[in-house]
Symmetry: C2
Subunit: 100 residues, 2 copies
Amino acid sequence: MPETEVRAEVGSLQEVLAALSDPVRLEMVRRMHAAGAPAACAVLYDDVSKSTASHHFKILREAGVTQRSVIGGQTHQELRLEDVEAVYPGVLSSILAAPR
Amino acid sequence: MPETEVRAEVGSLQEVLAALSDPVRLEMVRRMHAAGAPAACAVLYDDVSKSTASHHFKILREAGVTQRSVIGGQTHQELRLEDVEAVYPGVLSSILAAPR
């Protein structure tokens, strides 16, 4: 049974926007969205170190945009699209739909 | 006749989100949106110095979110909502509609 961290409130609008304003984090979020399920961390980034990636995952999680779970001993990340949409309708979905 | 700076392209999605992720700038943008017309700079902020405000206006302008014009010798700022929506549909409008 996967361990999932207790859900926190979605952060302030500023925290959500700041979390998404970094290109590495936006790419992570796009890949989580494409996965549509908890995704192993390693598939969510290419060109940064594992420790840098961990830092970015933390910022996303603290903004309430993602949540972390451990599945089969491996850390996964999952987008909280519905939670964010419930608080800020259209914000995350329009960002995900935006052209690259 | 007002002098308006030549319109630049809207910035990258990251630039737009970064511009909006600051609470002072988000408040400026909200006030411009409420004004619905070029607004005198001084009515767009409360608790920062004029030079800090100028810095924030510059970031908004460079991201393509706003434009500056001089009307009656006084600098005004105006939201480029339609321009931003044309490139990133729903992003700026949903942010403007989000709860505080």
